[in-house]
Symmetry: C2
Subunit: 132 residues, 2 copies
DNA sequence: TTAATACCTACTAAATTACTAGGTTATTAA
DNA sequence: TTAATAACCTAGTAATTTAGTAGGTATTAA
């Protein structure tokens, strides 16, 4: 399985924000209820979405989250990367702190690189608005 | 992470078979030693590869595994699917026994379907011989 | 001042991956 | 015929990740 419920829940919630009347902030409590998702779990996902600048929050009564950009300007890849971390088809392809493959001139790596690029391009083509 | 060490180990071992002199069977003991992989774990991977008809086995002294086809006729997708099971970018996309998405006319699903098709096409383009 | 909301920390449960241990069965070479 | 080799099988354990729970604090609007 490529993606987990993190992405599934996150995208569902993001589409909910995209459909909010007059860009009114939506509380996680209401989203959690509407989509039957654990609220604390959703909170952690939104912390990541906010850290990556995809949503803005406001506290207090009538507070909640709103998208920072129109839904047709947010691509699926951004959302996935925010939630799942950097895309890596393999351990050896990880771009974060993990130990990378040390085989010089590694043919296998070239194949994974091409696959990874391909997946990214495909995911970037789709916008949040395509899911509504 | 898309793929696990199952695929990593499996592909490494398959390329070892592809490079065997005169198509001589290679034992899992020797592959496990050469590539520093747990032999019983490798055994289970090869059970899957054999079940999918990608390798043949012979028991006894000088026995081992050989490829059933030339390396340029075996594509990466076949190997991955044998080892990791049916490709599904999401739970809702699983083609096996699991409960599928019931949302009729689900837009999200169309996006995943296109992504999934794309990944398959890319993986089928690469042959085992490309990794040698 | 109160209620609503984001935000934070620590823990538990479930699932999956990776690995270990200890066999049995079939085949070949000596 | 025997011993070595190798596939093949079963039942576990360890490690990691995902998913979810519990119980708070901080901030803001009404």
């Amino acid at each position: 399985m490529l993606f987990t419920t993190k992405t599934e829940y996150g995208l569902k919630a993001m589409t909910a924000l995209a459909q909010s009347k007059d860009k009114k902030p939506l509380s996680l409590a209401s989203i959690a209820k509407d989509y039957h998702i654990s609220q604390p779990y959703l909170e952690r996902l939104f912390a990541k979405l906010k850290a990556d600048g995809l949503v803005e929050s406001s506290k207090g009564s009538n507070g909640g989250y709103v998208l920072t950009r129109p839904a047709n300007k947010i691509n699926i890849f951004e959302v996935i990367e925010a939630l799942e971390g950097p895309l890596a088809v393999f351990y050896c392809m990880a771009s974060d702190g993990k130990p990378a493959c040390t085989t010089s001139n590694c043919l296998t790596k070239k194949v994974w690189h091409e696959l990874q690029k391909n997946i990214m391009v495909t995911l970037r083509r789709f916008k949040l608005s395509d899911l509504i």
